[in-house]
Amino acid sequence: MTLSLIRRIRNSISLQMLLSSLGVFFILVLSTAYILFSSMRLQTVSDRSFERERFITSIRKGLEDYQGPLLNYLSTRSSNALSQILIDTQALRWQLPTYMPINADQTDLKERELYSLIRSYLDLADQAMEEKRGRNISAYTRIYDEMAGLLEYINSEIGKISLERSRNQMDAYGIFIADAWSVQLWNFLFIIFVSIFATLMLLNAIGRITSPLVRLSAMAVEISAGNFDSNDIETSSVQEMDQLVQAFNRMKRDIHQYIEEIRRQENIKQEFMQERMRNMKMEGLVRHMEIYALQAQMNPHFLFNTLNTGMQLAIVEGADRTGEYMEYLAKLFRHIIRNKDIIVPLRHEIEGLNYYFYLLKVRFPKNLDLILDCDDALPDRYQVPVSILQPLVENCVIHAFKDSPAYPGESPSRQSRIRVSAALEEDRLVLRVQDNGSGMASETRENLLHPQSIDKSSLSRVMGLENVIQRLYFFYPDDPLVVDIESGKNGEGTAIIIRIDTGRKPCIEF
């Protein structure tokens, strides 16, 4: 019960503030009350020394007032005087202390004796009045004489006691003042220390409240600077502040998440914009190509008609080989031009390559060995980008054998070979175009195997091998292994290898 209450107080800032304020207020009130009390106490102590003096003085005055009615009664037996005497006697007897303890102090002993003297005086007065009532003149006269002497002695004793007490008070007053000064000094020190203590208590309470706020403001500065990675603010075991701290930490995390989300969306937006730009460029390119194609449409028709005319002329003239050559050339042109698809079955590429092989065999009948090695199951199962094999073979014919004495067909000393193969390796369709030519410099290879931006590749009219490589990169942007170039041993021969991931669709949507 108590522990839970303490925990509640420790965890509640409002209770802490209330208790701190009340505590400081209570301490200050208590200390002020104590100072007031001790000052009053000192005044009481100071006043007590004069109290007896006042009392003795009042007794003396009472005795002086007593003399008139007593003498009046003893002279005249006046009933008024008698009643006055009785009243005064009673008043004086009541004034005198009934019991005064005996102690070793001389002044107190003298005072005790004085009260006894006064009682004796009053007893003598009673006796004198008795004798007066009994008309024993000599007796009351003698008693009155005795009373006069006793009264004189009483007055002298009162004087002596007053003088002695004053003397004692003079001595005691110095000690009293010194002691009282000590008390006041310690009271002053007490007030100073209590004030500092109370101030520190308040500062502590304020600190418990403000320190989390300071940390919050420092965190806010960091957040405003964009630093969301700093640690969360620790809780301060103050309930209300902890709620604020937790809310702030939650706010920091949420803002971080929102900013990350905004950043992610901005990235997506930028990517989208880039994609859009790319699409727009592609559309422009397509339009450009369409115009180009439209412009070029006239030429293929004219070329086909011309080739057909040439072929018919060759047949009419009986030149069968020329006619067949012209026929294959026309088939190759038709194959290249008529197909509008970007991605075609492998069979389509193989067919086009066969037409081109026939033409090359006519051109280089002796020194060029052309080999096509393709599994029969592959051509109809897999698709490839259009026009990727024929340009590669053409590249071999143009570049691989350029250092030969003449065209491959013109040098009987060396047999030039171009081997085209298609095979399935794991999940990739591997197309290999390999020659035994002069090889490729490593710099050329590095330059070729470097993807170019679409606008560069599209607008620069890259032809042949480079065109094929850039188109492959374009269709398979996330697959850097789609194309590779290998040089043979001792720098002889080159193999261009296309590895198409059969599980991945080519990127053809603009």
């Binding site: 106490r41 009260y115 009682r119 004796s120 002695y153 009282a180 310690w186 500062l203």
Partner: protein
Amino acid sequence: MKHFLKIGIVFFGLLSLMAFLVSLYLARDLYKSTSGDAVSPRNYHFSLYLPDNRNSFFTGIIQGAEQAAAELNAAVSIHSIDPAKNELEMASYTGIDGAIVCPYLEDALARRQLDKLGNRQIPTVIINHDVPNDQPWPFIGSNNFDVGRRIGLMAGSISEGPLRLALVYSDKAPGIYGERELVEMGLNAALGERLAAPVLGLRTNLNPLDAEELLYRLFRANPDINTIVFTDPNDTLAAAQTLVDMNLVGQVHIIGFGDDPGILENIRKGVIACSVLTNPERIGYEAVRSLWSLQQTGYTPASIDTGIKIIDGSSL
């Protein structure tokens, strides 16, 4: 910062507590010292009536009385025996439980006032010198014949030749003067044939310096006096200084009275031959004890001899 704050709170909290406790203690002490209620009350209130002279003899009596009072849970108020002050006359009205009286030289007056106390059933003891009466009061003090005899023996031992002796009484020591016959009888009994002339009796008044003038007069009138006996400490001191001033040290022997520091110093120097002590503390002590015994049992010895003591150079 937080650490310093906590240390400060603890430090100033302790300082505040300390200042508060010290202040409380001092205030309580001050209150108690002025309240006068701290001591438990005493059982009896006795009064001691003495001459106003406060030489070592009477101071000793007061000290002895107060010591006995403290031991027996009684209190002693000190009064003057001076007839002009009328204090003994009024003693019967003061409500005291007993009176110790060192009487005046006028025995008749003393006797009347002692009778007045007796009539009021107030126990009374007499100290220092007795007052003859049909029903004598208890007496506490030295035997003055023995005092005279011891003085005579000392005077005889300090000088070998015939003695010309002056005995100086004093109003400041009425006890010895009241019984001067006993003292002189004791002197004569001790010295006998060695006295070259009868003992010269002299008397000083209450003035503590009166002995100085008395000595000058004495040596002008009686230059052959070789031994002077004093019965009061103040007279002894004044005479010792006069003897030094008159360059008579060694020629005239002084037998003093009391054990004031000045007297003891002069004994060491050889200015005073010896000094008589009547043990005043014991007189005061036994007087209070007698009154207490009278209150408790109704009985006390009729006379208590407190004895005397001689101090000389060998006993210091």
